[in-house]
């Protein structure tokens, strides 16, 4: 089959760019550990409290070491459960100091949800029977909206929270 000389040049240039591009994202993923959220642990969605992370007393923000935090959450239509504060009121805002490393762990009790801290790289699907987990460094100060970004029913847009980095 005949290829025009210019087409050969064009395709060679295109394919070479493609190879470089794939090497870059492959290097970032496998050597720098920037894979997208792909946690493989499963759970019984009908009994999430049986898992240590999702016991009512373990929900919400916990400082595990200096500058290191974890946030455990349970999603259900149409709410994120971040645990309760000292007055037994449901927590709606997660407050962490700037520069802290936060491990977000979440599962769903019912349907598929999303969990995105808008304006950061924290963006994951939340599915019944699976645990999603993603660690991020909160580099910038400010208020970041947590949105459910996968359709979960007619109250979907009322499912939100907030992360405050101070």
């Amino acid at each position: 089959m005949h290829l025009h000389k210019y087409e050969k040049v064009w395709l060679t240039f295109g394919m070479a760019s493609l190879v470089i591009f794939l090497l870059v994202i492959g290097f970032a993923a496998f050597w720098k550990g920037t894979h997208p959220q792909s946690h493989l642990e499963t759970i019984d969605q009908n009994n999430v409290e049986a898992h240590d992370s999702f016991k009512p007393e373990n929900l919400g923000l916990t400082e595990v070491a200096d500058g290191k935090y974890k946030v455990n959450m349970v999603a259900s239509a149409f709410n994120y459960d971040f645990g309760v504060d000292k007055d037994e009121k449901p927590v709606k805002t997660i407050r962490v100091p700037q520069g802290s490393t936060v491990l977000f762990t979440i599962t769903s009790k019912d349907v598929v949800h999303g969990f995105q801290v808008a304006g950061t790289n924290v963006n994951m699907m939340v599915e019944p029977g699976h645990i999603s987990r993603y660690e991020a460094v909160m580099k910038n100060k400010g208020e970041f909206t947590i949105v459910c970004n996968e359709y979960c029913g007619i109250g979907h847009h009322q499912m939100f929270g907030k992360v405050e980095v101070y």
Binding site: L22, I25, S38, G153
Partner: protein, 555 residues
Amino acid sequence: MDGTENNLRLFPKKDARLYMSFMYVTFVSLLVGGLMGLLQTFVRSGKFTLPFNINYYTILTVHGVILGLVLTTFFIIGFQFALMGKTVGISDKQRNVGWISFWMMLVGTVMAAVTILVGQANVLYTFYAPLAAHPAFYIGLALVIVGSWISAFTNFRQLYVWKKAHKGEKSPLLAFMVIINMLMWVIASLGVAVSVVIQFIPWSLGYTETINVLVSRTLFWYFGHPLVYFWLLPAYMAWYAIIPKIIGGKLFSDSLARLAFILLLLFSIPVGFHHQLTEPGIDPTWKFIQVVLTMMVVVPSLMTAFSIFATFEITGRKKGFSSLFGWFKKLPWGDVRFFAPFVGMVAFIPGGIGGIINASHQMNALVHNTIWVTGHFHLTVATAVLLTYFGIAYWLVPHLTGRRLTKQINKLGIIQTIIWAVGMTIMSTAMHIQGLLGGPRRSAYSEYAGGAQVDTWVGYQLAQAVGGTILFIGILLMIYIFIKLTFFAPRGVEEFPIAAEDENAQVTPKILENWYLWVGITIALIAFAYTIPMIDIIKHSPPGSVPFKWPIGRM
């Protein structure tokens, strides 16, 4: 082939009626689905609430199903039947089977549409389990898919019969392209058909208690990405084999066009994980492998871009324009059959770049499920593909109704294209920016927890309502043009513009038509990309999920 003469010969009435039936459904869908889109942008502007207690997610489901599945599938099948009829012919029996396919798809569409409209299927067009719609919704979808398969097998039969009568000849290029698209469609839609028939229907009827959510999602996206190439390939058919004729040129290269289509078949299916990049339960190495396979589509895309612009230049130079870009200025800008698809091609440049970003493994996390994605596919399917479909309709509809595309209608078409380009530039740009700022897709108006971040989103949502309104005006104009071309344009013969090969074109290698080879490689690639991860997903399954009806407002 006696190219020009065949291009001007109208179809027998019986054949034209079948092809036209698909066009009627296409343009009714455009009006209904477009109206829903307009209402969505209004609701998201925060200045408007829907009357009569209509739910936002009902109209969102209608918009996605009617435009993404119904308009596209009906247009594609109608157009492809016309291409097959023109290039290889149709027998009485084949035409009758075509009618069975049409009615089956229409019954399925009406079933699904009614179920959605009465609020029993607020599940959006992706119908993710364990949200449970009324069984009629899934049964309707199954009928549409099976109906489309009947068309596919009719097309296979049409080429087979032609080949037997034309021993040793290569198949006509457009017939070859139709068969590639239909092969891809059948292989891909097997996934969603298995999911709907084996998982969803028994589960929604209560025969099985639970559903495996991740398996259903994986089967959906095994289908979901080739679905977008199923929309795109008919546009490519026009770009490769129709536009050259409209601008007064010849095919650039028969064999290159076939090779591009084969590569699109090979790399369209084993790639569904790039829609599931942020999901738990799938090994990231397999996600990356499918990302690499996804990016292979860059090769046929670059080939296509080269071919198209080479055709433009060669045609212009043959007409005697010798300056570096003189040929470009002299393209037939005033001919809507060229202008509308051309604007579509331009939109495909940012559309394709956005697609590369979306499928880029970790980069996806920045835009996944944000309204950036909505902005992306409104450039690809709702501009590149749709404007090319319109570009086809301007000559196909009058060819089928025995009328002419008049100067006046041509002018209206040019205006329609400009309106579309303006409206989409506003809407899609606003969507892209809002998405980068984290604004979610598929959501009714909400101020969430308030604050500065949400305030910036609302401004872009207003811009989307402005763009959406302009687009809806474009839809009304297109419907007017369709009615004119169908019922009122002056009688005559509109050309069915199929480009001919150059007299001294090189011989197309026989291997390009070795169906066993290409289908075999397709299946091997699918088996490679899916077998191990699918076994992993099934082996490490959590308990299944019962149906959830109340979240979508079902009692």
